[in-house]
């Protein structure tokens, strides 16, 4: 056990030294102000055009209803819009503002928008060369000539990865909150948000809807984002073991993540796509209550798909890493 802890210590410091996390933080510090600025412009525009948030919300409902009447819009988009209209109507009926401009709301929506591409990208920055870098620098031979079992080495790398994934998600949220708070104010933790909308075909089931605080909502969202980031990281670790080259594994993983995002947007007619891990990455849709990318997907289903992919990737990584020939 002490042995394993020492290995994790070693791995953690190695990744830190490679300044991977510094790059992630820097990207966030540059990007978030851009989104904050855009969001601020939207809020200002709405404030000048509408008497209060209620009439703005009502206008959003009406505009989406109008889009629904168009023949040109594909049925899947209509499904999504119809759900949105029903949700917004629920908020309006209960006199709750779904979009109060504050730092917590901003952070939530930033997380929702980054779960399918941005967060995986940040995670890949750490995960993709965890094994392959050792190979290209040759240090893997040194690592494996120690009297340590190979599986322990890979396990220490995986645990390090989990730790960094957690750090990246928390850092994303912390930075988004701190930076957007400058523009929107730091309140909003106690405001109500509705959860429990259940999309059923083209309708939304309202029976289980209940309110939680924005703070609790954000925490749940972070947990879900963390889980999907963890699966991406685990699969990246396997790819990194299999492909032996950092560039190749990074490109492979990015292709997988990006194609997943595209598929989630347009493949609702291809039903078996729902068994791909990359279509299931956006777990926050279940919390938001928006229809999933493919009909029939549920939180349990997506978690199972991600879990199976993650477990299979982990098993493959261990099987290959412990038997692999390192001489090359």
């Amino acid at each position: 056990m002490a042995n394993l802890l020492a290995l994790i210590h070693n791995e953690t410091i190695k990744v830190w030294r490679k300044k991977r996390f510094a790059v992630v933080a820097l990207v966030l510090i540059v990007l978030i102000p851009v989104f904050v600025y855009a969001q601020m412009k939207i809020a200002q525009n709405n404030a000048s055009k509408f008497a209060d948030w209620r009439s703005e919300l009502q206008q959003r409902i009406t505009d989406n209803t109008n889009a629904l009447s168009s023949e040109r819009i594909p049925e899947e988009w209509k499904r999504w819009r119809r759900a949105l209209v029903q949700q917004l109507q629920y908020y309006l009926d209960h006199d709750v503002n779904p979009n109060t401009p504050n730092a917590v709301t901003f952070t939530s929506s930033f997380l929702e928008n980054s779960v399918s591409l941005f967060i995986p990208l940040m995670v890949l920055a750490v995960a993709s060369d965890l094994v392959s870098a050792e190979r290209s620098t040759g240090t893997i031979k040194m690592l494996l000539t120690r009297p340590v079992r190979r599986w322990r080495i890979l396990l220490s790398k995986w645990v390090t990865l989990i730790l960094y994934v957690s750090l990246i998600v928390v850092a994303t949220v912390a930075l988004a909150y701190l930076i957007s708070g400058l523009a929107f104010g730091y309140e909003g933790w106690g405001e109500p948000v509705f959860v429990g909308f259940e999309p059923q075909g083209s309708d939304i089931e309202l029976g289980a809807v209940h309110a939680v605080t924005r703070g609790a909502y954000l925490l749940m969202e972070m947990g879900l984002v963390w889980f999907s980031a963890l699966v991406v990281a685990t699969i990246a670790l396997m790819v990194s073991v299999l492909l032996r080259s950092t560039a190749a594994s990074l490109v492979t993983m990015m292709a997988a993540v990006i194609s997943g995002m595209i598929l989630a947007n347009m493949a609702s007619s291809w039903h078996s796509a729902k068994y791909l891990f990359n279509v299931n990455l956006d777990l926050t849709v279940y919390l938001q209550g928006t229809p999933p990318p493919i009909e029939g997907m549920t939180l349990g289903f997506s978690l199972a798909v991600l879990g199976v992919w993650g477990a299979a990737a982990l098993a493959t990584a261990f099987a290959v890493f412990t038997k692999q020939d390192i001489l090359a």
Binding site: T12, T62, L92, D93, S166, V195, G223, L299
Partner: protein, 275 residues
């Protein structure tokens, strides 16, 4: 294990502990998300809805500012107007000019293809009621989709095949009670607003077989006018004459909705009726 540089001895405890705490936090969040999805709690109480603002009593001339709400079908939406302004935004701008008062659009709640029965349903929605309740002027178009079947199919016309004066004659008596209902509901929501109903026109006036429809459309407008007169604080703005002499110049390419010029003329009419 570390390479022995100074400063490392402190990095690991801090970094390790931070990461451990982050991981614990994520696990808590993940567990909370699962629990909320599968074993939902009652949830927190939502604060009571506050009373929405209401329009002031009194005539338009006495009010320091005018709030406008628009309701109805594609005409109020501004369909066919290549500038996207429609008659609603133009009316607001013209009213501002003519009255010298601040005039503000609360909401344009029009929905393309809206029928009278759906408008009546819409008036039961809380958000719609809030918008109507605070308005000093309510602009309204309705009936086009009930009376012209063709409007329901998106407004494309197949050489006047769907245009039938007989059908129109049959549909008018069915639709009239719905207009009653809409006026009644509007009054219940807002007892003080000036209601402006924009009358129907015959978009097929240039077609020989459809010209006789105009008489029925005038009947409909006349019915609306009687309702407005009974109400006392409502106006019907006639538009049928605007689209008779030169249909092509004021209708858009779908041959049903007005174009930018057509909407401009409707807006001018509305402003005149309020002056």
């Amino acid at each position: 294990m570390s390479k022995g540089k100074s400063g490392n001895s402190r990095l690991w405890p801090i970094l390790g502990l931070t990461m451990l705490l982050c991981t614990a936090l994520m696990l808590v969040g993940f567990a909370a998300a699962l629990r909320d999805a599968w074993f939902p709690s009652r949830g927190i109480a939502v604060p009571e809805a506050s009373e929405p603002p209401k329009a002031a009593e009194g005539g338009l001339a006495d009010k320091p500012q005018w709030l406008v709400a628009a309701l109805g079908d594609s005409l109020t939406r501004g369909t066919g107007d290549e500038t996207g302004e429609g008659y609603v935004k133009r009316t607001v701008a013209l009213l501002k000019e003519a009255s010298g008062k601040p005039v503000k659009l609360v909401n344009n709640l029009a929905v393309n293809g809206l029928t009278a029965i759906r408008l009546s349903d819409q008036l039961e929605q809380r958000g719609v009621q809030q918008a109507v309740a605070q308005a000093d002027i309510v602009l309204l178009t309705i009936g086009g989709n009930d009376l012209f079947q063709i409007a329901q199919s998106g407004g494309s016309i197949a050489e006047g095949r769907d245009v039938s004066p007989e059908l129109l004659e049959r549909l008018i008596p069915q639709t009239e009670p719905l207009l009653d209902e809409i006026f009644e509901k509007l009054r219940r929501i807002n007892p003080n607003a000036r209601i402006v109903y924009v009358g129907l026109y015959n978009p097929f006036y240039d077609m020989e077989q459809a010209r006789s429809m105009s008489a029925h459309i005038l009947d409909w407008n006349d019915y609306a006018h009687r309702l407005a007169a009974a109400d006392g604080n409502a106006t019907v703005v006639p538009t049928y004459d605007l689209f008779e002499s030169n249909v092509k110049a004021y209708l858009s390419s779908d041959h049903f909705h007005p174009n930018a010029k057509g909407y401009e003329r409707i807006a001018a009419r509305i402003v005149q009726s309020l002056e």
